[in-house]
Symmetry: C2
Subunit: 284 residues, 2 copies
């Protein structure tokens, strides 16, 4: 039996879309995969991988006849893309996405696409970009948050569930707002902080690279992410991220005050709180 | 020919002292290794490894006759330890340390030990603690900062250089103050930030563990470090760390203001600055 999400049109041949395609080829070989992208070089790389039935820069050619469309482009491009695919969608085609922000994306896409849109965010990624970094196991064991609303059709939700489960995700459903409050703190704030940390070090210490070790390496790794991509993510979730920066800054100011007054107990309590929280995390 | 640092008395059988001993056994088998510690359990673990000629909780028994003493205990314990070993030191015995802070440690230890003390900081570590986490290759390829002063004897500096080079370190010499300004930003600030980040997430998002991915994992990893150990480090370098918190906070406030005004250019410029700084770092 053909999967409900086949043929699937993957829009955006980067790390996220490319990994979705590679995972489907491996785990659902009967699924027809189609890929759309703007850049000829990326499309050529997809063609070379040989798994896609259609690889094209013409949106209509890729979307027409698809049962599922996955938006795997930067979040700020999604509403425009939703509008452009609308005339070509089959009656029951489902549209999902893989964006790191859900509130604004779901509101915009739902207003254009209606009940067929199911917001999704597979929590998996890399500081590398592009199809060259794509991996068939990127989603294996990752949480995928689905954010259906009162408008979402039950059939569309079923198809989105089947798709993200097929590529290895554990599913979790919550509101777009709850998603954005959580991801602001678990992902977007750490990204802003990693960038600010790398800038702080480089501005103050000219010869820092030989004076940094594994702590610097890990705590700043995500600053390697693509600046354009992350500018879009931070702006799309600006309210929650702004609040979370204020929360973090308050803790840092408490540490600073404790350092200046030599208050060991306050410092130890904060370090112990961070340590014990971090111990609860056990990603594979 | 026997090494100038043999016999060596390693004070503190934890990750740092244990790794120093394991590295010496591998790279300088003729060196006589002695280990002092307070806890019987850790000393028993050292004895079981079978590489030490003397393993004892009696400081005099370990230090007497040693040509080199390495202080591998938490930074705040070093001045007291320096005072306690002084009566037992041979005329030409050299004392070095492995503390993450140099200004206060060097000032205190030098005032007690004089020209024989050579401050050192091998920039290597782990979020794990104790002899069980020790590894013969911990220092392999790491930078070791030596902080001799105008008081340090040339012969003591030569012995300290030989020791840290033997275990695989690249040597770098600078003043205790320059070291502390640099490490405040490359190591101590990231630690405080990782702890504050883990606390921010846990306070705001009750079900955060299933909503965090690789970015959270890496950017908060060092929060797993021992709270007591790191309270001592942060307090010992409080002036520079407090300044660096202010530097970081200013950048975060700029990001926050840019988010609130929707100023994409400012955000992109900051993310690009962090990304390009981080690209200069290439640890093994």
């Amino acid at each position: 039996m053909a999967e409900s999400f086949s043929p699937i049109a993957i829009l955006g041949p980067g790390l996220i879309g490319g990994s979705l395609a590679l995972a489907l080829r491996q785990r659902s070989p009967a699924t027809e995969i189609r890929v759309w992208g703007r850049g000829e070089a990326a499309l050529e790389a997809v063609r070379a991988l040989g798994f896609a039935a259609i690889v094209d820069a013409d949106l209509a050619a890729v979307v027409t006849g698809a049962q599922c469309v996955a938006l795997c482009t930067p979040v700020e491009t999604m509403p425009e893309l939703a509008a452009r695919i609308t005339p070509h969608l089959s009656a029951h085609a489902v549209v999902t996405d893989a964006g790191s922000v859900k509130g604004s994306v779901v509101a915009d896409c739902e207003s254009i696409l209606g009940e067929r849109f199911v917001g999704a965010h597979p929590i998996a990624g890399s500081d590398r970009n592009g199809i060259a970094a794509a991996a068939a196991d990127l989603y294996d064991g990752a949480t995928c948050v689905l954010t259906p609303t009162s408008r979402t059709s039950a059939a569309a939700l079923e198809t989105a569930r089947a798709l993200w489960q097929t590529v290895g995700c554990h599913l979790l459903e919550m509101s777009p707002e709850s998603h954005d409050a959580a991801l602001a703190r678990t992902s977007h704030l750490p990204h802003a902080v990693a960038s600010a940390l790398a800038a702080t070090v480089a501005r103050a210490i000219p010869d820092w690279p030989q004076l940094a070790g594994g702590g610097y390496r890990d705590s700043t790794r995500i600053a390697l992410g693509h600046p354009d991509l992350w500018t879009g993510i931070l702006l799309a979730n600006r309210g929650e991220i702004s609040t979370s920066i204020a929360e973090l800054t308050e803790i840092l100011q408490n540490i600073r005050a404790a350092l200046e007054s030599g208050d060991a107990n306050t410092i130890r309590a904060l370090l112990a709180e961070g340590c014990s929280a971090r111990q609860k995390f056990d990603v594979l």
